[in-house]
């Protein structure tokens, strides 16, 4: 679980960015990465691996581990830590190789 410092909480309250995470509405701070928004919402896992179907969450937060892959607006393989949240964004867990093809 990650919590906001007061300054950051104030910024969020003033101008929240509203997204959905796995169907639930979540308010984030403008400028948060998707990975940060997930962690702030109490989620430390975001996908299941392709080989052994094990859960993974954000690990390095600097764009090189590729563990923070999520579905964003129905697009798979999005690096959560490199993409800022946007109003109306749909964020969903990525289901490894069991992902259903459109």
């Amino acid at each position: 679980m990650f919590n906001r410092l007061p300054e950051a909480q104030q910024a969020l309250a003033l101008a929240p960015v509203v997204v959905t995470i796995n169907g639930e509405t979540v308010r984030c701070r403008a400028g948060d990465s998707v990975a940060a928004a997930l962690l702030a919402a109490g989620l430390n896992e975001c996908r299941d691996t392709a080989v052994k179907d094990l859960p993974r969450g954000p690990f390095c937060l600097m764009g090189i581990c590729y563990d923070c892959l999520v579905m964003i607006d129905d697009q798979p393989n999005q690096q959560g830590c490199m993409i800022p949240v946007r109003s109306g964004m749909k964020i969903e867990r990525q289901q490894g190789a069991r992902e259903v093809q459109a």
Binding site: A50, V51, Q75, P76, N77, G96, A97, R98, E99, V100, Q101, A102
Partner: protein, 385 residues
Amino acid sequence: MTEHAHTAPVIIIGGGLHGSSTALHLARAGVHALVLEKNYIARHASGVNAGGVRTLSRHLAEVPLSLASREIWLKIRDWVDDDCGFDQNGQMRVAEDEADVATLRTRLQTMHEHGYTHEEWIDADEVRAIVPAITPSIQGGLIVRADGSADPYRTTRAFRFKAQSLGARVIEGIQVLHLQRSAGQWQVQTDQGLFTAPILVNCAGAWADKIAAQMGEPVPLDPVGPMMLVTTAMPHFLDPVVLGTGRPLSFKQRANGTVLIGGGRLAYVDRERDWSELDFRQLAQGARTVCDLFPHMKQSVISRGWAGIEAQMPDGIPVIGPSSTEQDLYHAFGFSAHGFQMGPIVGKITSDLITTGQTALPITPFSIARFQTGAPSLTQEHFHG
């Protein structure tokens, strides 16, 4: 580390698939060859190709060899104690437009005229039934259902280790510097000393022309780097390997879900430094082909690209058979980006030539002599591999 005896009944230069296959077949015949490999086994083309195990779309001259090789592939585990990741999900060459259809129909006719029935025309409906993810505008294709693909690195390793288990020897990281024949023996000067053998086999891939030149039978070999891309794992959507007709493409999904994209577009290579540089504009063209044929691939993620260093011959077929200038020297190189499937049989051909002086398979079109001035030019029917 055992001492390397510096003599052997046969020395094979080059530890790719063809060198390893030759070593295996010789070992089965009780001849314990020594393979000299300058990097490590399967370092170059043999380890990084698309792994296509196809009889489909072979150059006419290669068809009998390819069909014979398939018999080995079907029982590969018996030969090398490893299934080599061989999947028999078919290979299909698709027609995007009417011109492609005409090309494939002509090809089929040629096959039939020569008595070959392994290639089969399938119409658009059947293509879509076999490959539902393909663009609906596909016009049809040629298929060989008994073809498939395998893991090139694993296959080459399997041949190498089986050969060694039967008495062949392998030295890696050794560079051949100079070759000389004297008193019925080949003197192979390397950076680790002198090795001698009565019989020599040139399986040196993209460097084989250097040996041929030393033997006074130069060949117009072009070192090339066919490029490959591979994606991250995707849900299963493809069984057969798909090849293009009018534009180059080789497209396959492996058992682990990753998708291999090839087709023969070329990188820059420097064979002296074992260095390649991918040409991204060329790769972009290949990417467009894939996205046109398989629209859902736009979202696929490319995680790696590479290019091996391969030997391209101007007529697109390899050099196989005895030297034209020297006794007790045999060549097996120049596979022009489609040598993988033929690896098992070519090793047998070379081994048979060495142990019995002959082979049952028609190898005249592959003679090194064809590059010499005054040699009759053979009628070719060349299809993009």
